[in-house]
């Protein structure tokens, strides 16, 4: 994390480890909606630990805002830990599905070549339509829309983003800290302090 909080807004990947609790999604979503902030992408999934859920949330904001939001999320009773990272700090993927008329794909060899070049994979072929799948970054999945549009793209859908933090050792060790009544210091993270008078730097 940089010492000076950049002013520019950019994409941040917020990773939230939580208990599996009804209503928690709502509680987390409200933290954003209350501040009139748009969630660009939201995914919930199991994590590496049974019973612990993992949210991946993408927002377009400044580091300062994201850090405040992260603390508000972490404040929720059923939230264990929140991390936030720029795109450079994570490995991320999104999946997209494209439905195209089968006759056009079959007729035009060019389409097949384009699909291959863009790493698309056939999921299903029916007489009337074919469904392709790609996985990648936003630009890649977007690009294929443009390519397929002239060939009668019938339907398109893209998944939420999932992201793995490059620097993370996973959550197992941390969870053991949480299970103790008196946790050690390493449960506190992502706390970047103001550098107003340079009393602290992190």
């Amino acid at each position: 994390m940089s010492e000076q909080a950049p002013i520019e807004r950019q994409e941040y990947n917020i990773t939230v480890y939580t208990e599996n609790q009804i209503g928690l999604l709502n509680r987390i979503a409200m933290i954003f909606s209350r501040r009139k902030m748009n969630i660009e992408s939201l995914n919930t999934s199991p994590s590496e630990i049974e019973g612990i859920h993992r949210f991946n949330i993408v927002i377009h904001e400044t580091e300062e805002v994201v850090s405040k939001i992260a603390r508000q999320i972490e404040k929720q009773v059923e939230v264990l830990k929140v991390y936030f990272n720029t795109n450079e700090d994570v490995i991320w993927q999104e999946m997209a599905l494209y439905k195209v008329p089968t006759d056009i794909v079959a007729e035009k060899a060019k389409v097949e070549r384009l699909l291959r070049e863009n790493g698309a994979r056939v999921v299903v072929i029916r007489k009337d339509y074919t469904v392709f799948e790609t996985t990648g970054h936003r630009e890649e999945t977007d690009n294929l829309i443009k390519i397929l549009q002239p060939f009668g793209l019938i339907e398109f859908v893209r998944s939420a983003r999932i992201a793995i933090i490059k620097d993370s050792d996973g959550f197992n060790r941390k969870l053991r800290e949480f299970e103790r009544a008196e946790p050690g210091h390493d449960v506190v993270e992502n706390e970047f302090l103001n550098s107003r008078e340079k009393v602290f730097t992190m």
Binding site: E19, M30, S67, E74, K75, V77, R196
Partner: protein
């Protein structure tokens, strides 16, 4: 006539068949609850049925509206330091709690609210008196949970109490479907909760930050302490006083913090914020080290943020990590419960006196006395002022009373001028600014501190918002002194209309009923005065009356509360007139 003393059921042995409702009430007894504020209804009837057998352990106060119930529970929690408990039924009963929940959340008041809910099999069918209470209350609770199975009740209730009272306290709501209230199960006892793995009530105290904070304080020439309710919530009044007296630093309070240090303590320099004292506001922008203790830099305290204490190094002691850097950038964050962090800090700071610096505050105070306070407390005008009523009240109570205020001009005047000798003596709706808070909160405050005099200071607007709680006073026989400061206006809005909207008095002219007659209807003696010569004697009559008493004081209609930091202005641009 022989009255039969009811015996409360003893805590049953393991594997006893209990209903969810019985298990719930046993839990309350183990948690030390003595008073419940509530209102029954269809979906909470099984709990009320069980309550019938718990009458001698759990005193139930029947309120007249669920909002009154939750404000009473807030008053109880604020005066006693314990968790306030509220019962309400499903649908409208539960939705009537929302204002109180929001108020308790923003003012960090520990509450456990129990709402009845329709049978689990009816959830989502738009059943009679069904509302999505979990959905509605999510943004206004620290935690909420819906119980549909009785076996969950002991564990969920234990969690609720732990969450409500630990860390930064707050309101918790449990919504219990009617089938779970009725369902019998093999009770396995009630174990209070002290650890939830995903919940960290207190951040880890970091010694290096305390050392850094102590260094800054020791080097400071013009240090200034701001304290808030956190000092009281942490029961750290003694630790706070010890820290102040060792360092000799002048200290000012937010309205939520009033009373944590006695009003007449030599280092208490007054109130912060929009209608706070002159010195504390101006000096915020002159101090070199600002030490904020258990306060959250509310916009009413800071005024314009980009001109707030820019010259100062900021040390922020708070139990809630989300408050650090939220509004004001911190140089040194001291995470933790100030009950633990203040003694550590006191150990490391040097014994000092800031005589000259403190004297500067007193200079500003003199200016404020000359410009505002003298005329407010000892007016030369014919009509009575709110300030003189509070001043005379101080004389009679000697600062020993609990003052509960509503919201508006009278609130600012009462907070500014009330003499408070003890902690937990100023109960007001600080963050949410809920009109109608004072009357029910005063009822609760008296239940929470039965040996203290409780005076509810209320405006003519707020009084009419929850006036029905006079019925609660009547039925419970509680002794609450009701002091209405009637200026025949929604005074604070009128003041803003005068100052910022060219005196366009849009819908602020409010008429009142004959309060003395209304009180009489509820069996409460009352009196209305409009002459200064009657003031002291009427206040004496109110205070010495053996039970509740309503005193209406007609005050000057168009008085303004000054000093004032106009919205959007810096604290140093505070106006004396």
């Amino acid at each position: 006539m022989l009255t039969q003393e009811k015996q409360a059921p003893a805590l049953p042995e393991t594997d006893t068949q209990l209903s969810g409702s019985q298990a719930l009430l046993h839990g309350f007894v183990v948690e030390g609850v003595d008073t419940i504020f509530g209102y029954p209804g269809g979906a909470i009837m099984p709990i009320y049925d069980a309550l019938y057998d718990f009458e001698c352990d759990l005193k139930h106060i029947l309120v007249r509206h669920e909002q009154g119930g939750i404000h009473a529970a807030q008053g109880y929690a604020r005066s006693s330091g314990k968790v306030g408990v509220v019962f309400a039924t499903s649908g409208p009963g539960a939705t009537n709690l929302v204002t109180g929940l929001a108020d308790a959340l923003i003012d960090s008041t520990p509450l456990v609210c129990i709402t009845g809910q329709v049978f689990a099999h009816l959830l989502g069918t738009d059943a009679f008196q069904e509302a999505d209470v979990i959905g509605i209350t999510t943004p206004v609770t620290k935690w909420n949970y819906q119980v549909t199975d009785a076996t969950e009740i002991p564990e969920v209730l234990a969690k609720a109490f732990h969450i409500a009272r630990s860390g930064r306290p707050g309101p918790v709501l449990i919504d219990i479907t009617k089938n779970a209230q009725l369902q019998k199960f093999a009770f396995q006892g009630y174990t209070p909760c002290d650890h939830i793995r995903s919940y960290r009530p207190k951040p880890i105290v970091r010694k290096e930050y305390i050392r850094q904070a102590a260094e800054l304080i020791n080097k400071a020439k013009k240090p200034f302490v701001l304290w808030g309710q956190g000092v009281m919530l942490g029961s750290a009044e003694q630790e706070f006083k010890a820290f102040l007296e060792k360092t000799g630093i002048p200290a000012a309070w937010t309205i939520m913090g009033a009373g944590a240090l006695p009003t007449d303590h030599p280092q208490n320099v007054g109130m912060l914020g929009m209608h706070g004292n002159y010195g504390p506001n101006v000096m915020t922008n002159e101090c070199d080290v600002l030490i904020a203790i258990g306060m959250r830099f509310d916009d009413r305290v800071t005024g314009r943020l980009d001109k707030y204490a820019k010259q100062a190094q900021v040390i922020h002691l708070d139990i809630d990590p989300a408050e650090i850097d939220k509004n004001v950038k911190t140089t040194v964050p001291v995470w933790g419960d100030c009950k633990e962090t203040l003694p550590l800090l006191t150990q490391m700071v040097e014994t000092k006196q800031h005589t000259e610096w403190l004297a500067k505050f007193r200079e500003f105070e003199q200016k404020e006395i000359d410009a505002v306070i003298r005329e407010e407390l000892f007016p030369t005008s014919e009509e009575m002022t709110m300030g003189e009523v509070i001043q005379q009240l101080n004389e009679l109570t000697k600062g020993e009373a609990i003052i509960v205020t509503d919201v508006g001009q009278h609130q600012m005047v009462a907070c500014r001028y009330a003499k408070l000798n003890h902690t937990r003596s100023n109960i007001t709706s600080g963050g949410l600014g809920t009109m109608g808070f004072a009357l029910p909160a005063a009822i609760g405050a008296k239940f929470g501190a039965p040996n203290r005099t409780v005076v509810a200071v209320i405006g003519d607007g707020g009084m009419q918002m929850t006036i029905q709680e006079l019925g609660t006073i009547m039925q419970s026989g509680i002794d609450v002194k009701i002091l209405i400061l009637n200026n025949q206006f929604l005074g604070m809005v009128r003041q803003w209309q005068e100052l910022f909207h060219e005196r366009r008095y849009s819908f602020v002219d409010i008429t009142s009923p004959d309060y003395v007659q209304v009180a009489k209807g509820y069996g409460i003696p009352g009196r209305s005065i409009n002459q200064r010569e009657n003031l002291v004697e009427a206040l004496q009559q109110m205070l010495s009356n053996p039970g509740s008493f309503l005193l209406e004081v007609m005050v000057t209609k168009e008085n303004n509360v000054f000093p004032m930091v106009p919205q959007g202005c810096s604290v140093s641009e505070i106006r004396l007139k």
